[in-house]
């Protein structure tokens, strides 16, 4: 708790960037509301935070992301983004425009979010919609392409790029709008390991160097490990909200919500179950190795003492 308070005073304002209060949502099936996808969710996200939202397929995590960007709307509960209540019935199209300028979204399928036939023109699409002058668009397009390392491809056709490259272009298209927050809605799910690594390193850099608030929806644990904070959504409710370290060490809990702990943590957990004396907070491979070698040394020493 004390850590939390300290962090808030670090930022310029102690008003959260995103504030969600008692949010619920049900999809409708032929006019009949089905099982709620989200039930009574409340949380706050501060500017500059890197939050991973984890959950198995159908847990409600994507619904949550879509509500934040007004792709879905509801009147059950409140979402306040940078002081604007986006769930209010008095929201106009112009207000929505403002919200989307501040909160960008990168989707899962890289193919279905690129509009133009040339990379640089696609990146320009957002700034064009914002009505920026041509010189400013030009500047933003190239600096955004630089940021994702795709400047050399500025004249290429999107369909000739790899999945990871397409996704980087999509990210550049969002960066060019200079949002304060970017939501990544399973943006790495369709990529191969290399593409995923590329995209992850960009996400990390955007948060660390540019101070952009990142909300990353995913079911990959390795990705969640890079965040400051992990929120686990299960059956439409928040099942956990803590640091990655804390959450990853709760192997039983992770299994119960359909997720997996890192292999090293699982190994230590299995050994602890069998009665071995090991710490319960090993998350990284190095920590696991250190804990195990300590156990070996203790056992070897015990044997020597016994023999002596």
């Amino acid at each position: 708790m004390s850590e939390n308070i300290k962090n808030i005073s670090d930022t310029a304002s102690d008003v959260p960037f995103i504030k969600v209060e008692n949010l619920s949502y049900s999809y409708e099936n032929d006019g009949v509301p089905s099982e709620p996808a989200l039930r009574d969710i409340s949380l706050e996200i501060r500017e500059g935070e890197y939050v991973a939202v984890l959950g198995h397929n159908g847990s409600g995590k994507s619904t949550f992301a879509k509500l934040l960007n007004m792709i879905l709307t509801t009147d059950k509960g409140k979402i306040i983004i940078d002081g604007t209540e986006i769930t209010s019935s008095s929201m106009t199209d112009d207000d929505m425009f403002e919200v989307r300028r501040k909160v960008g979204m990168v989707f899962q399928n890289p193919d279905n979010q690129l509009v133009a036939t040339i990379v640089e023109e696609d990146v320009a699409f957002g700034p064009e919609n914002l009505g920026l002058p041509r010189d400013e668009i030009r500047k933003r397009v190239y600096s955004s392409l630089d940021m994702v390392g795709m400047r050399d491809y500025s004249k290429h056709a999107p369909h000739k790029l790899s999945g990871g490259q397409k996704q980087r272009v999509a990210i550049a298209g969002i960066i060019a709008m200079r949002p304060r927050c970017i939501i990544f809605d399973e943006s790495t799910a369709m990529l191969d390991p290399l593409g995923r690594k590329e995209v992850m390193s960009i996400i990390k850099r955007l948060n660390r160097d540019e101070g952009i608030t990142v909300i990353q929806i995913t079911h990959y644990m390795e990705e969640a490990a890079m965040a400051d904070r992990v929120i686990i959504i299960n059956d439409g409710t928040i099942a956990a909200d803590s640091t990655p370290r804390d959450i990853f060490s709760r192997v039983d809990f992770l299994k119960s919500v359909g997720l997996e702990a890192p292999q090293g943590t699982e190994l230590i957990w299995e050994l602890r179950k069998d009665g071995f004396d090991l710490p319960d907070n090993c998350v990284t491979d190095e920590e696991c190795i250190a804990a195990l070698s300590e156990l070996f040394e203790k056992t070897l020493k015990g044997k020597k003492d016994e023999q002596a």
């Binding site: 198995h56 369709m190 191969d192 292999q263 056992t299």
Partner: protein
């Protein structure tokens, strides 16, 4: 049992154009009968091309693909028959669903095989069971079921043809850990019961370690190495040199071995390492 082999196979895309690329270069390979072989490699390493050569979607530029010692292209007009014997589940196979009901969609392949109505019915029900599809889903439209169920239905559509060799290209791509386990576990069970030869393309080293008996590693249009899982994962340096990883648990086991602790056994799954550690501790205490 049918033996699937590649004999000096090369494949070139866009021959005679400026875009000419060699996707496969002189591949000699044979897949063990009744085992699960993992096929791993980066995008562009040639594994997708390889998979399409195995069931005759592509024809080798040179060399032969042999099934039971016979060139599958001996009678090009009968290549369709090869596809019933070597079943291929493509990546994101849910795109192939088209029929009115899931049942009819799964029956599409068996029908094309020319099975009798009763045989088709049995094949559909059996395949649905293997992939864990509920019976009440079979009468629904494939477009109104969930993503995970679509994936299962699509896989069932190929299994229902009872291929002697079953190839799956990333059957668990995009699924969450639970979905992965269910699909891959179901396949392993299917393979164990029927003794089918299975070839599994995957990017996940952890899945390879857990579900496969043998592994073929592709790199730059060639086979980098092949062998049983433990042999391949013991060559971590070589794998890393081409940018592939070993399972994280194998890293931990390797680091401990390098520190002088004598761990023995299957050091590439959590269970394997756990057993090795417990054995080791028993031996030193």
């Amino acid at each position: 049992m049918s033996r699937l082999e590649l004999n000096d196979v090369s494949y070139v895309y866009g021959e005679g154009t400026p875009f000419r690329t060699e996707a496969l270069k002189n591949i000699d390979l044979s897949f063990s009968d009744g085992k699960i072989t993992g096929l791993i490699g980066h995008t562009g390493s040639g594994k997708s091309t390889l998979v399409q050569l195995l069931n005759g979607l592509l024809k080798p530029t040179s060399g032969k693909v042999l099934l039971d010692g016979k060139d599958i292209w001996e009678k090009p007009k009968e290549i369709g028959k090869i596809r019933f014997r070597v079943g291929l589940v493509m990546q994101y196979p849910e795109y192939q669903l088209f029929d009115e009901t899931v049942h009819k969609d799964i029956a599409f392949g068996p029908k094309n095989c020319g099975l009798s109505d009763q045989e088709i019915e049995n094949a559909v029900l059996e395949a649905a069971e293997f992939v864990g599809l509920d019976k009440n889903i079979l009468d629904k439209s494939p477009f109104e079921i969930s993503g995970g169920q679509k994936r299962r239905a699509a896989i069932a559509g190929v299994i229902a043809m009872h291929p002697e060799v079953l190839i799956l290209d990333e059957p668990a791509a995009g699924l969450d850990p639970r979905g992965r386990r269910e699909i891959l576990g179901g396949l392993k069970e299917y393979q164990r019961r029927n003794g089918t030869t299975v070839i599994l393309v995957s990017h996940s080293m952890e899945d390879m370690a857990y579900y496969c008996d043998e592994v073929v590693v592709m790199n730059k249009a060639k086979v980098l190495m092949s062998g049983c899982v433990s042999d391949v994962f013991s060559k971590s340096a070589e794998l890393e040199s081409v940018g592939l990883d070993i399972p994280r648990i194998a890293h931990i086991a390797k680091a401990l071995s390098d520190m002088g602790y004598d761990l023995k056994g299957e050091l590439y799954t959590v269970d394997g390492v756990k057993n090795a550690i417990e054995k080791y501790i028993a031996s030193i205490s």
